[in-house]
């Protein structure tokens, strides 16, 4: 028994992405959810399952519950509701929950959503609103080791030391994402190009990361709808079949500060890759376009290594110069601009873009896409997704 191609994404919806939404999280969540229903051609009342996000609970509170969304959309009752934890690590895991629910008949139409308001709300992800007080943080906080940027910087420094990756390699990721965002009217950085000189001039936040190595923090929401291929026939869109989906933890996980295991870095994604390609019965060579979770630039070449797109230590050399990962290259990445330059919705905007690549409706559309992939957040338990036309 396999989950391969037993479910598909039939609707995607989004709010606009802004620096100041002027709206609450629940307001944006239902806006995106309604847009996903309209995109699918589905009456919202037919939604009978929902999957929302959680974080580790230490740096953020989640404000939007499935009950709130159901109340606004007048959904009479839900048969399935779940939460995938670990922030951005959860994005593809929400789709996995939904796929399992519809494939087993527990639910018929499952809505997965993420609404975030870090730009104008009370919870930011890039810095602590307060110093968290519990035992877990006592080994990091008193030493000022207090931001996701620094946690990823710590294992990036080691990765650069081991592989010979340069600051210019990191800058290349930022540049390629920006090039894709510049032509995307949804993107925060629409029509705002950047040069390598701009990259090097941007302020150093936490060495080796400059401002342009770190993702956006903006307001917005994205929702997707999952159902079975049979039900998808009665809906509007070309279904994006869930051909591979996986979630994974790794040894000695200690959320975002796992610096005690033998090899620091992103082993969670290595485990995701094994399950993902096994379920899809594919190898990385089969992937036509990939939305790599890019909360920080270094994570893109690091993922290429652990997922097997390149050999261990070969990620930086692969992205060097950027031509291989541009839309005309052999592995186009982050075609909407990613979270570095389109929008930071904890990876849900990347899933929406992966769906567009299957439908053939992306703004930077890669020709003849058969296999479209996206990945979840790093440094935490994470997830991954492979979509096809079925």
């Amino acid at each position: 028994m396999t989950l391969k191609n037993k479910a598909c994404i039939v609707g995607i919806g989004s709010t606009e992405f802004t620096r100041c939404s002027g709206r609450s999280e629940i307001h944006m969540a239902v806006d995106a959810s309604l847009a996903a229903c309209e995109d699918a051609g589905l009456d919202p009342e037919k939604i009978d399952g929902m999957v929302k996000f959680g974080t580790a609970g230490q740096v953020a509170t989640e404000f939007t519950t499935e009950a709130d969304v159901a109340r606004c959309l007048n959904i009479p009752n839900l048969h399935y509701f779940a939460e995938a934890p670990w922030g951005g690590g959860a994005c593809c895991a929400t789709v996995m929950h939904a796929a399992m629910a519809v494939a087993t008949g527990v639910a018929k139409y499952v809505l997965c959503f993420r609404s975030l308001k870090p730009a104008s709300g009370t919870v930011r992800y890039g810095r602590p609103a307060s110093i968290p007080i519990d035992a877990h943080w006592s080994y990091t906080m008193p030493f000022g080791f207090a931001s996701p940027t620094s946690w990823v910087a710590m294992f990036t420094t080691r990765w650069m030391y081991e592989t010979g990756a340069t600051e210019e390699d990191l800058g290349t990721i930022a540049l390629v994402c920006r090039e894709n965002a510049v032509v995307n009217p949804r993107a925060i950085f629409y029509q705002r190009p950047m040069t390598m000189e701009d990259y090097f001039k941007s302020p150093m936040l936490c060495e080796p990361f400059r401002m342009h190595d770190t993702c956006l923090e903006n307001d917005g929401a994205v929702a997707v709808i999952v159902t079975t291929p049979e039900r998808a026939r009665d809906l509007k869109q070309i279904p994006a079949h869930i051909t591979g989906v996986a979630m994974a933890t790794a040894d000695d996980a200690y959320c975002m500060t796992a610096f005690y295991r033998e090899k620091i870095g992103i082993p969670e994604m290595e485990w995701v890759g094994k399950d993902l390609f096994k379920m899809a019965e594919m190898t990385p060579k089969d992937v036509d376009v990939c939305q790599f979770y890019d909360a920080f630039t270094s994570l893109v070449p690091m993922q290429m290594e652990v997922l097997g797109f390149v050999e261990e230590g070969g990620g930086a050399a692969y992205v060097r110069g950027g031509d291989r990962i541009r839309p005309t290259g052999e592995l186009p990445i982050n075609t909407s601009g990613g979270m570095l330059s389109e929008s930071y919705i904890h990876g849900m905007n990347m899933i929406a873009e992966a769906v567009r690549q299957i439908r053939g409706t992306a703004i930077t559309q890669i020709p003849n896409v058969e296999v479209s992939m996206s990945t979840g957040g790093l440094g935490v338990p994470t997830s991954g997704l492979i979509l096809t036309k079925g």
């Binding site: 006592s138 030493f143 000022g144 207090a146 710590m154 420094t157 150093m204 080796p208 620091i264």
Partner: protein, 145 residues
């Protein structure tokens, strides 16, 4: 460049919180001693502490005094403030201990960011925070005579 223990640091500093199985670590820190957890059965080192040895799954654990010597395994340098408690610039180092199979997050004393490198020998030095608490920081290892 050390983390500045200014009035904001002291204002926001809280007593490190410990679960029951971690008290040995923090009680030793209060006494200006760096200890790590080790399994009495199989000798596995555990840091941060765990209630159970993950190798042999016994609860028979002990606290062993560290020699305090290690090498920088990785590091980062804060140049943009994320909280008033932590005035920039300052370094955070991940130290791999020489004599205990653990790594430890800490800060550096009397070292410029430019001096840091992976593999740099360092040794622990306790820095007083208040009457009760000190934190184990590191400085460049003294050259052997």
């Amino acid at each position: 460049m050390a983390l500045e223990l200014n009035k904001y640091y002291l204002k926001y500093f809280y007593d490190p919180v410990a679960e029951s199985f971690e008290e040995g670590f923090w009680n030793a820190v209060k006494q200006r001693r760096l200890v790590f957890q080790r399994c009495k059965e199989c000798g596995e080192w555990l840091h941060p502490p765990r209630p159970m040895c993950h190798k042999c799954r016994t609860f028979d654990l002990e606290w062993v005094e560290s020699t305090g010597k290690g090498k920088i395994y990785s590091y980062c340098v804060f140049t943009r403030e994320v909280h008033p408690m932590f005035r920039v610039p300052f370094e955070v180092v991940l130290v791999e201990m020489d004599d205990e199979k653990v790594r430890f997050i800490s800060n550096m004393l009397d070292t410029d960011p430019d001096e840091l490198y992976i593999g740099m020998p360092v040794e622990v030095e306790f820095v007083d925070i208040n009457d009760e608490w000190a934190l184990p920081w590191f400085r460049k290892a003294k050259k052997k005579k």
